[in-house]
């Protein structure tokens, strides 16, 4: 079982302009932190080709940085962009998901839709067989055996 996330936004520019601003490293640096009151750390690199990577590193200080690396899977300028995204937080945990973005002409501007899929939601079966529970069943069995002996 996995969970999906979906967001949409109407933007006042053509799909070509939005696609360009979204994927251009220099433009990204401008809009990514345009709303920040205090300048934090923002590093952006883009290699816009299938198999290429886009990396964004940002955060308030060097010891609280988030990093997102997207690998381009499909580039259909200026309509669609598919990437595999690996996010990692300051605590060292990572999560890999698929991001599909579409840029559709709408109402004189562009409707940008982001669908991020594949957030793992463990089922009860995984709950018992996942990392935390490795060996748990053996230990329960040992416990039960010990208990019945007593």
């Amino acid at each position: 079982m996995t969970l999906d996330m979906r967001v949409t936004r109407q933007l006042p520019a053509t799909p070509e302009e939005v696609f360009d601003a979204y994927t251009d490293a220099e433009k990204q640096k401008i809009w990514f932190s345009i709303l920040d009151e205090e300048p934090g750390i923002v590093e952006i690199e883009v290699d816009l080709r299938v198999g290429g990577r886009q990396t964004a590193v940002w955060g308030p200080s060097p010891d609280a940085l988030f990093r997102e690396t997207q690998t381009f899977v499909e580039i259909d300028r200026p309509h669609r962009l598919v990437t595999d995204s690996t996010g990692s937080g300051p605590d060292g945990t990572t999560m890999t998901t698929r991001i599909e973005i579409t840029f559709e002409p709408h109402d004189g501007g562009t409707l940008m839709t982001v669908v991020q899929s594949g957030f793992p939601a463990p089922e009860i079966r995984d709950f018992f067989t996942g990392e935390v529970w490795t060996g748990a069943l053996d230990r329960i069995e040992a416990f039960l055996t010990a208990k019945s002996d007593a």
């Binding site: 969970l3 996330m5 967001v7 936004r9 933007l11 006042p12 520019a13 302009e17 939005v18 601003a21 979204y22 433009k27 401008i30 809009w31 990514f32 932190s33 345009i34 709303l35 988030f66 997102e68 996010g87 937080g89 945990t93 999560m95 998901t97 940008m112 982001v114 991020q116 957030f119 793992p120 939601a121 463990p122 089922e123 009860i124 079966r125 995984d126 709950f127 996942g130 935390v132 748990a136 230990r139 329960i140 416990f143 039960l144 208990k147």
Partner: protein, 118 residues
């Protein structure tokens, strides 16, 4: 060392709570979604009082959480494993809000400047 002993004590509680078939059935049932004490007691052929005793054991082991909803008590699996996924989703929601807000302001400002120049 103390941590280790605390962990052991927590594990012991988990294992002893899982040692009962009724409690294992409850966990599997809650894997499908939350349920009230009554909904859990009925298929097990138990009284509410009997089921509540089992639920207290599971709750003390940290395997389930219970919450009073109206006149019933609702039980669900402890959220620990789901928390990870939800944390990441809320992280990405903030990231995308930041990106889309940024793009919106970027184009709005540019359009404003463009109109001004023209």
């Amino acid at each position: 060392m103390v941590n280790h002993m605390v962990q052991q004590a927590a594990l012991d509680r988990v294992f002893s709570s899982l040692a009962d078939p009724v409690r294992r059935e409850v966990l599997i049932r809650l894997g499908e979604g939350p349920a009230t004490v009554g909904q859990l007691a009925e298929p097990a052929g138990m009284s509410l009082t009997g089921m509540k005793k089992h639920l207290r054991v599971l709750e003390e082991a940290g395997l389930i959480v219970t919450e009073k909803v109206g006149r019933a008590r609702e039980c669900r699996l402890a959220p620990a494993p789901l928390d990870d996924a939800m944390n990441w989703i809320s992280f990405y929601q903030r990231l995308w809000a930041r990106r889309l807000d940024g793009l919106d302001v970027y184009f709005t400002l540019r359009k404003g400047n463009g109109d001004h120049d023209a």
